[in-house]
Assembly symmetry: C2
Homo-oligomer: 183 residues x 2
């Protein structure tokens, strides 16, 4: 059965990170829902406007196998200010679902209180925002069902790690080849 | 003075390629216009809907310093079927502007007749679509004002090459660092 992931989109999201995750997961056969924090088109940190599939108000985040947060400034600030996002992340974590964040967005996982004692990474220089976690300067860090990563340049590695977890290593390798990715 | 680039967006465009180029060029201070082949939101090859800044009918492509084509299937087919796209590419090339295409889209440059005797690359396996060119299996190929590249996994390298040409090596290095890119 196909796995389902939800990507939460706030104004100021990082465009490369958001599209890389959705594109790569869909290439792997994962059903991905892009949920905007509000209705209508959402503008990214570099002015690209994306029309989400639905809004956060219309979905039940806990029904997904993975909840994913892209970075971007002020995207991550807007994610962290929304109680529904913090609740979605916390509930998904408690239910053992995959919770993933990239760039500045791992700070939102810290705000949700789920990084205590966990290994995690974040955009270089922002380590102090990983309250309670063990910050690592690696491109992608997995700790149990938590996946964190550093920035637009690590987005494909981040996305392929999620494919590995949701679908398997073979599919991740197959998708990687189709992307002409090198790392 | 800021340089201006235009990215042409057709239904079925490759999302990682399109957003990587726009995002990276804007990080470098290049003014980028996303022009849809038709009005309204344009859906990518993996279902992501982007709202372009304008339409191809409303701009004069020859006024830009660079004309850029993302790949994606059927995006590249839709680009190649549109006489306005072929004309825009040909005119830009004749005026000495930068003409760039990634993934399957270098085939559109071949259709426009501007690859004769030129070094170029394309998505691996599609080399026969580079009619008249000298196909190379490199991740990014420059030949004069022509820049071609292979796929989503080479999109950051492609975009940073365009930054080098439009702004300079120092800015490209600076943007690369901010992306946490490795190559």
């Amino acid at each position: 059965m196909a796995k389902h992931a939800v990507l939460l989109l706030a104004t100021g999201f990082e465009e490369i990170e958001a599209t890389s995750v959705v594109d790569v997961l869909r290439r792997a056969g994962v059903e991905v829902t892009i949920a905007g924090l509000q209705a209508g088109a959402i503008q990214g940190a570099h002015g690209i406007k994306v029309l989400p599939d639905t809004t956060l108000g219309e979905i039940e985040p806990k029904k997904f196998d993975a909840v994913i947060l892209p970075g971007g400034n002020p995207g991550y600030v807007n994610l962290g200010r929304d109680k529904r996002v913090l609740d979605a992340v916390k509930t998904a974590f408690e239910l053992g679902k995959i919770v993933a964040a990239i760039c500045a967005a791992p700070s939102v996982l810290a705000q949700a209180g789920i990084l205590k004692g966990k290994r995690a990474t974040i955009f270089p220089g922002m380590e102090s925002a990983l309250t309670g976690a063990k910050p690592l300067s690696e491109r992608v860090v997995m700790d149990g069902n938590l996946v964190t990563s550093q920035g637009p340049g690590t987005a494909l590695e981040f996305a392929l790690t999620l494919v590995e977890l949701l679908v398997g290593k073979q599919k991740a390798q197959e998708v990687k080849t189709g992307l002409v990715a090198k790392f």
